[in-house]
């Protein structure tokens, strides 16, 4: 009888762990039933390619959020990479070199974030918020607060964002899949990831097992900034231009994905597999809402509702976990 009970607990645990995935599938079925176009290859690719920017950013932010910090500057980093690439390309610098400089700049921003938090000891939220204002200012300075566009920089500028392989798979989607795979291996399969989750679970305990929490946080801040930079390059490429205002709503969107993700796989904690599923759900909802002809305010309301629902679930999970501890 005891066996039966543990089995029941296991099954309900599994349901809880993977509920988000079931929700995603359910949503697809519902939208597919309302509008058959939802399941067309073109639309699926559309969902994926329109979500590439936020998904790449979300992967990066996950790493920071796993350690229990937040990178408030992710939107600024995204815009910075886009602006630097565009400004340099317009000035005649080779595109690839421009991209490298942009990414390097983001890595530096990430290093500063990490330095302010881990070495000086400013709370991550405040440190990155300060940095985000500085970077925003920098973006406006180099762009003159306007949209940067040039007909001179040629096809290569839109290659990542607009080109398709084999006629229907966008290059950006391939990039996303590679990056997602890479981050997934990093956090779930490698020692780096285990340390990262350990830091997030209890950074004080890390010292006692020989893990340098500050080093892990530093790495997370840098990788996060770099991935946001990559997202910015893709963003510039998609719209064939760049403005310093690109990243203004990035953080809120990323947080929705991450919060949803925290209900999945490791319930109650941010994690990369969850982020990927969370990002999928947000984009399926957005796309589905457009397809069924929802108004803008309805989309906002639904997105807000989804985020609140996710946070509620995390809170309940955490309360239950604490009760279990007693």
């Amino acid at each position: 009888m005891e066996n039966k009970q543990t089995k029941q607990i296991q099954i309900s645990g599994l349901l809880q762990k993977y509920a988000l995935l079931f929700a995603a599938i359910l949503l697809c079925v519902i939208f597919g039933a309302i509008t058959p176009t939802f399941w067309e290859m073109g639309n699926i690719m559309n969902i994926l390619s329109s979500s590439v920017i936020l998904c790449i950013g979300a992967l990066g932010l996950s790493l920071v959020m796993i350690t229990g910090e937040i990178d408030f500057a992710c939107g600024s980093e995204l815009a910075a990479a886009a602006c630097i690439t565009a400004v340099l390309a317009k000035a005649g610098v080779n595109y690839l070199i421009a991209v490298c400089i942009a990414i390097l700049f983001c890595a530096c921003v990430g290093t500063v974030n990490g330095f302010l938090h881990t070495k000086i000891g400013i709370p991550g939220f405040i440190a990155t918020m300060g940095v985000s204002f500085v970077v925003d200012g920098f973006n406006k300075m180099i762009t003159g607060s306007t949209r940067i566009f040039s007909s001179q920089w040629g096809e290569i500028f839109v290659f990542i964002g607009q080109k398709k392989v084999a006629g229907f798979i966008p290059v950006s989607v391939i990039l996303l899949i590679i990056l997602a795979g890479g981050v997934l291996v990093y956090t779930e399969g490698m020692t780096n990831g285990r340390k990262l989750y350990a830091v997030g679970s209890n950074s004080d305990a890390c010292r006692y097992v020989g893990i340098d929490a500050r080093k892990e946080k530093m790495k997370a801040f840098i990788i996060s900034a770099v991935l946001c930079g990559v997202a910015g390059v893709v963003n510039a490429s998609q719209i064939n231009a760049a403005t310093p205002y690109l990243g203004t709503s990035t953080l809120v969107n990323l947080l929705t994905m991450l919060m949803l993700g925290a209900t999945f796989y490791r319930p109650g904690a941010f994690n990369v597999p969850g982020t990927i599923v969370g990002a999928l759900i947000v984009n399926i909802i957005n796309n589905g809402m457009v397809l069924i002809g929802a108004k803008t305010w309805q989309q906002y309301a639904v997105q807000g509702g989804v985020m609140l629902l996710a946070v509620t679930m995390i809170t309940i999970l955490n309360i239950r976990a604490k009760k279990g501890k007693r």
């Binding site: 291996v185 020692t191 285990r194 679970s201 305990a205 010292r207 006692y208 893990i211 109650g268 279990g324």
Partner: protein, 520 residues
């Protein structure tokens, strides 16, 4: 007093949780002006019983009678109205508020809509006089010591004039020097303000010092109620543990001269927190060395510096013939020195499962050179550690926070012992909050490491009794320095306590102003 019924009578109280009876038909009476000790191992049902007395839990069966009159509590407010109040083990004080403000918290005097600070101050003063305690009322409580804070809690509890006060392990956070005055204070409470006390504790010597009666619980049932003068501590222990769960610690005789040839660690001086501390101590192979001292005496800090956990300005010591001047905890673990944390919560990753909790200490061992984790080996190793240490768990994929304190401690120590090339294990308060059975298992484990595996062990504790029971030698800390070294043959409770209080070992105490190194 015309009413001859006992103050509180507990009649067949029963509380069931899903699948488990936490309190099973418990009956006993508490007389007037009586200190009634309630003892039992963790999970014996003491807390659950008290939560029914305070109305926090509804009663499944049985009833409570106060002065012969049957009462029913719908919530804590009802219980307080009937004169039962409880002081919990955790502090419920607001740090930046003064003692007077904390005492009146929740029942503030008002002048119009504003708080009447003067009236509250007067009320607190009145309570202070009534209880005859000497603590400052206008100092923020966070600046007070643990003992004074405990008194503030009790003053608040008595401010509603209760008939019965429940104290839940009130001395758990007090240093050795603070306990005795506190016990006197509790004794005085019963006579001065005419109340009865239920005194929950793990420490037998305390109840023999002050209690009139004792009730022992085990597995949710009452196993004994007796007058203190009719029983011995051994009888209490026997009533607490049913069956023979406590194993005797045996310490093999030691040839100190021979031992000194097998030096493992030698320390003279450490500089941390802006101060140089004189800490001459050494550890040899195959012995358990105790670190004793009051809270803030530097016993923990010293070991944290050695283990590379606490930052230090200057450190220099010899480990196994090698001179060491720096290195973080990662490096020290590689060299075979590991410390388990004072707070159990600092040794575990609550949101991670058992495999991850065991293997975080060995991330690089169970991974390829590229950093890919070898899952199969990690799992096998985890099973090995869990089984070797007799850990109770349902699945290695469950979260560690679902386990009991004793089992978590088994994992923390169990994984530390597995460190490659382990030379020196330091355990800091390993038995805090554990019941007697679990404690004795830890003692045996520590002894086994020294006696059979020939490792050096440093046992840091604020419980003198357990150090006397387990250690070969002991160092006493005071004010950040080592003030005395004692061999097993020289162990003497009064002398050790006196050293720990800054005295010179003849029972005389100097003023107690040990600097408190700021705990990070």
């Amino acid at each position: 007093m015309t009413n001859t019924a006992p103050l509180l009578s507990i009649n067949g109280l029963t509380k069931r949780f899903t699948g488990k009876t936490a309190v099973d038909h418990v009956c006993f009476d508490i007389g007037r002006n009586e200190i009634h000790a309630l003892i039992g191992e963790n999970g014996a049902g003491k807390s659950t019983l008290c939560k029914m007395l305070t109305g926090a839990y509804p009663i499944d069966e049985g009833y409570i009678a106060i002065e012969g009159e049957k009462v029913e509590f719908k919530g804590p407010a009802d219980s307080i109205a009937k004169g039962i109040n409880m002081v919990y083990q955790e502090r419920n004080l607001i740090g930046y508020m003064t003692a007077a403000q904390n005492i009146c918290l929740g029942s503030e005097n008002r002048k119009g809509i504003a708080l009447d600070q003067k009236a509250m101050r007067e009320r607190a003063e009145q309570i202070r006089k009534q209880l005859g305690v000497d603590i400052p009322l206008d100092v923020p409580v966070e600046k007070m010591g643990a003992g004074a804070q405990q008194l503030v809690e009790i003053m608040r509890a008595t401010s509603i004039q209760p008939k019965l006060l429940i104290l839940d392990e009130p001395t758990a956070s007090l240093g050795e020097g603070e306990i005795e005055p506190f016990l006197k204070f509790v004794k005085k409470l019963t006579t001065d303000i005419n109340i009865s006390v239920i005194y929950i504790t793990h420490k037998l010597e305390e109840i023999f010092a002050i209690a009139d009666k004792v009730t022992v619980m085990a597995d949710g049932r009452k196993t004994m109620t007796a007058n203190m003068k009719d029983i011995t501590p051994d009888e209490c222990v026997k009533a607490m543990i049913r069956g023979d769960k406590i194993k005797e610690v045996v310490i093999p005789p030691m040839d100190y001269e021979k031992q000194e040839q097998r030096r493992l660690l030698e320390v003279q001086e450490l500089t941390y927190g802006g101060q140089t501390h004189t800490v001459p101590f050494h550890v040899n192979r195959g012995e358990v060395v105790g670190f004793y001292g009051l809270v803030g005496s530097g016993r923990t800090e010293t070991m944290e510096v050695i283990a590379g956990i606490r930052p230090s300005e200057k450190k220099e010591f010899v480990l196994d013939g090698e001179k060491i001047t720096g290195g973080d905890s990662f490096k020290m673990i590689q060299k075979g020195v590991i410390l388990t944390p004072e707070l159990r919560s600092n040794g575990m990753f609550p949101s991670l499962n058992l495999v991850e909790n065991v293997c975080t200490l060995f991330v690089n061992k169970f991974a390829t050179s590229l950093g890919m984790i070898k899952n199969k080996e990690s799992r096998a190793f985890t099973d090995h550690v869990l089984q070797k240490n007799g850990t109770k768990y349902t699945s290695r994929n469950q979260l560690i926070s679902e386990l009991s304190g004793g089992n978590i401690q088994k994992i923390i120590i169990g994984r530390s012992v597995e460190v490659d090339n382990l030379k020196l294990l330091a355990v800091d308060e390993p038995t805090a909050g554990l019941d007697l059975g679990a404690k004795s298992e830890i003692y045996l484990k520590i002894r086994k490491l020294a006696d059979q595996l020939d490792k050096g062990v440093i046992f840091i504790s604020s419980e003198l009794e357990e150090l006397i029971k387990v250690c070969n030698r002991m160092y006493v800390f005071y004010g950040g320095n080592v003030v005395k070294e004692l061999k097993r043959e020289e162990f003497d409770r009064t002398a050790i306590l006196s050293y720990a209080l800054g005295g010179v070992g003849n029972g005389e105490q100097t003023s107690q102003n040990s600097p408190q190194p700021d705990g990070q």
